[in-house]
Assembly symmetry: C2
Homo-oligomer: 147 residues x 2
DNA sequence: CAATAGTCGACTAACTCAATCGACTTAGTG
DNA sequence: CACTAAGTCGATTGAGTTAGTCGACTATTG
């Protein structure tokens, strides 16, 4: 039940971009440093997110990436799906594949996998980057106060 | 967020064994046929489950595998953990690993991953093989009636 | 035009996964 | 006791995926 590094990096990058939303575009190098992601790899990831319509970019000096929609309108599930494909733990409960299992119609496990998929989807869909950014900011200032 | 084939096969095999609990030991060949799992691969899986204490086996003719505890006392989470390791989608929320992420203490994502892990764990832990076998039997007889 | 920054496709090394094999051990049958 | 049916175990393979790299290119700014 692991999430790929790509999915993780993508989420972290999107979070970073959300934190700086409405400022100047952020360039790859800075995201890479802030989140400790290999720059060349991050490049690919951002490109993929751009193609999927979540990011826009500007070339040249002072260029960089920025969100194409406000963070409140983007949730984690979408991002993960772009990077890793369907959230379903197994093909027989995926919307795009299934029909692989032998006794599919009478298999007691199928309902369980479905539950898992739905739970995961529900949690990730309700998590917007707006909210995550907010939580992050709160944690940072709380920490500063606390220490 | 995929489950490995090994995890899937292991669950299916355990389900099959639960369906025939209290009968003669089931041999690998039969499980393999019933669930359409490559026999040689299944061998490894059963062995691993045996080492983890969920199965016992008897050699010789009329040998085979059987559950070491009643199906009601085994849940899916345990089995998956044996085959695939921790359920956590990412290391920073796993009990046995973590501390990889850069701003772990102030990262808004961490809470989310935790939610996911807990949800998945909860669903899989409450699913015992007793119940799954029951559902399977119900589906089979229901189907027979229905068609 | 020089410098900076994103774009794109190809590439690779490492690793994991699914599966296979061969040789061995144990248990029951006659 | 020999034979045979079954599980045991470690090693190995081949395919595929993943994480990460590279080089050449294009667009923008000053
Ligand atoms: S139907 Fe897919 S595991 Fe049973
Ligand atoms: S702490 Fe692990 S993703 Fe942020």
């Amino acid at each position: 039940m692991r999430l790929s590094t790509k999915g993780e990096y993508a989420s972290r990058a999107m979070l970073e971009l959300s934190l700086h939303h409405e400022e100047k575009p952020l360039h790859i190098r800075d995201i890479s440093k802030a989140q400790d992601i290999p720059q060349r790899f991050l490049e690919q990831i951002l490109l993929q997110l751009k193609r999927a319509g979540y990011l826009r970019s500007r070339k040249g000096p002072d260029g960089g990436y920025y969100l194409s929609r406000p963070p409140a309108e983007i949730n984690v599930a979408e991002v993960i799906r772009v990077m890793d494909g369907p959230l379903a733990p197994i093909d027989c409960v995926s919307v795009t594949a299934h029909e692989v299992c032998p006794h599919e119609s009478s298999c007691g496990l199928r309902g369980l996998w479905k539950e898992v998929r739905d739970a995961v989807a529900q949690i990730m869909e309700k998590a917007t980057f707006e909210e995550l950014a907010e939580r992050t900011r709160a944690a940072r200032s709380g920490r500063r106060r606390g220490s």
